[in-house]
Amino acid sequence: MSNPVRLKPITEHQACFHCGEQCTSEILHFDGKEFCCSGCKLVYEVLSESELCSYYDIADTPGISQKSNQGKDNRFDYLDDADIIDKLVDFKNQQEIHITFFIPLIHCASCIWLLENLHKLHSGIVSGRVDFIKKKVQVKYNSDQINLKEVVQLLSKIGYEPSINLADSDKKKPEISDKKLIKKLAVAGFCFGNMMLFSLPEYFSEAELLGEGFKKTFNYLNVFLALPVFFYAATDYYRSAWLSVKNRAVNMDVPIAIGIVTLFIYSLFDILYLGNEGYMDTLGGLLFFLLIGKYYQQKTYDTLSFDRDYKSYFPIAVTKVVRNREEVIPLIKLQVGDIIKVRNEELIPADSILLEGEATIDYSFVTGEEVPISKQKGELIYAGGRQKGNALTLTVQKSPSQGYLTDLWNNESFEKDKIQDLASLANRISGKFTFIVIFIALLAFAYWAYAGQVSTAVLAFTSVLIITCPCALAMSTPFTLGNTLRVFGQGKFYLKNAQVIERLARVDTVVFDKTGTLTDPGKASVTYSGESLSPETQSLIKGMVSQSTHALSNRINSWLEGVTATSLEQVLELTGKGLQTIYKGQQIRLGSAVFVGANTKNLPSGGNLVFLAIEEQVLGYFYILSGLREGIAEVVSEIQGQAKVHLLSGDQDHERENLQQTFGQDVLMNFNQSPKDKLTYIQQLNQSGVQTLMVGDGLNDAGALQESQVGIALTDNITNFSPASDAIMDASMVQKLPRFLQFAKTSRNIIKASFGLSFTYNVFGVFFAVQGLVSPVFCAILMPISSISVVVFTTVTTNYLAYKRGLKPKIW
């Protein structure tokens, strides 16, 4: 009974002309070319009709597979709704409408070419314009010739289905702040450059190159140029400093703001009253460098926009039934008591009661359990489940904003602001730093005032503040963290912000979710034992499982890759039992041991079993084990060197032994965990004082991800899903997780080292400043040197260390 039979794959695979995928189940010939599915063929037809086949010249097989994209013709009906249209469009007048779509499938030059030639496909479209990096397309069309729905249908027909969600329609955030920063940077740079020029006589003050008159004029010009810097370019720092003082927390921007104000006022006093040269050029340089650091930091954040809003997970539209007529309405208009229709593969938008139909709900996003649950008429179905099977009629019990998912989302732990209890390293240091600096400055002032030399006292006071002005200190953190974010980003590990790095560095306990995190849905191992399967039986099985949406059916289906499915008239799916059909007068059953009446002795344990029986005669069984991700055992053991490892799973514990063997005895394992349990588990860990890192795969772990100090969401498709986490990691990069954790610690050390560097400069500077010995030349030289050296130091060390640890392919 135990000779495993492996299927041999079909040898000659033909690559699809459109998408380049291997044609496995069917091959369509058209125009002397091969296509993997009718969708791909259709796209080719559309393009060739419009003479757009140079699409295929720019890159080989540029298309996107159309296999998954068939059926459901009315799914864009909500785009007829005037409210929705108004929310989505950028611009609208009598004839023309401009709208920007986000199309995650844009991936090559051909995509740009095709989308910019949309006007050749439909005369109503005026133009399409692609932003490749943001994967956005701005489409302009004539509203009397084509409507929004038709535009979206056209796009999806050629394989570029836009992703539209409620978060989009809620109004896009303008990117004004970024532009403002660039403007400030430009102003600071312009003024700084010119002020350096006018300070030239200062730099050569000994040379007496020019007469006194020139020097004065130059100083006044400097004052004039410093005005835009002081009143415009530096405004962010005043605001931030003021806010932090108001909240009684001293952050990095407080000493900077004090420094800027002191520098400006003292220079003004120095130039206009004392007739000296002031430090206006220093002020310009300071702002210029500070803003460069800020801009750099912001750029690194732009890698990924994180959407913590639950709305992006929900569908945008639902099918409502009114007087036996179907009507697609936007989700926001859904009300309690409405009757809705949910089709195969659609999400339940709100907690509802089942009126009609056989519900088989897949809650894998919510609970982590892959096996769908069946529900009877009159039972409550929670939001967030996905219907597998025939269409359902439901009556809405709660409005979408109050559903089960939203409850989970709005759990009170989500509201807590983690940033408050964990003041970041730089801020804590700079807080103390500020007090020390002010203390030293006051001490120097008091000393000189006591000695009767008031002018020296003022000079010493201000020069201590100026020379210790923490620009180097301020820059070391953003530059180091910005670099680290970039290094992580190159490794497809996207952090929400720089503070996550500091929290990552403190992690001492790592909690893994099992399903989808440690296991790879695509790597389940299937073995068949029993009488060998004839090609006819294989295609018969394929025909049966391809009509079922059960997780185990899917696995058998993908195991039978390359086999052509027999088309079967009627496949009966008996929930909890299996599949049944009649083929050539014979009854075929596929399912549990009880269902087919199999003998349960001497069977392998630790996995799922699916039996095959023809006419009550058991032929054999499939043994299905959920496969672990590649290299995950090494990851776990490597992390165990740095931190404690816990494992949470929503599944039953029949794989415990297996996992314990792979990961070792030190890993704490917990099974049968609901999302709530996971959240409580993390809460308990937090209360015991450890710093937790949760690695999960999305919404079913949303609570736990949020509750942990750092939550990392593993995802196989970054553009598809953005859960409530602090970081998103491409699932293929999980092997590098221990190295990323290490590097977070390293970057913390780099910051500390650069602090040391800038402290050295400061101590050196203060030594002279308190004696009232500091001259403008000294200031002008020391400040930029200290800042530049710190920036160079942090940039070089982060890049070099990242390269050395294999997190980066090249040093630059």
């Binding site: 003479e51 140079s54 720019i58 030059a109 740009i112 070419w113 910019e116 006007h119 050749k120 005026v126 133009s127 399409g128 314009r129 692609v130 932003d131 490749f132 990096i133 943001k134 701005q138 532009k179 660039i182 403007k183 430009a186 102003v187 312009f190 450059g193 010119n194 020029l197 006018f198 020019l210 007469g211 020139f214 004029t217 010009l221």
Partner: protein, 60 residues
């Protein structure tokens, strides 16, 4: 030596003009996307098409 004042005026005006031009270019969206145009320039417009109006290169 007084000529230096004229030079300063010229240099400030020149630099100010560049700053102004930079702001204008930024407002016009020239820095919004600096990847796509580099690809777009490589596409050829086939002459045998019905010669519809080529989409303008201005973003707004």
């Amino acid at each position: 030596m007084e000529v230096i004042f004229v030079l300063i005026a010229i240099s400030l005006i020149l630099a100010g003009t560049f700053l102004f031009l930079f702001f204008r270019a930024m407002k016009g969206g020239q820095f919004d996307d600096n990847h796509t145009p580099a690809i777009r320039i490589l596409f050829e417009n086939k002459p045998n098409n019905k010669n519809k109006e080529v989409p303008s290169t201005k973003s707004k």
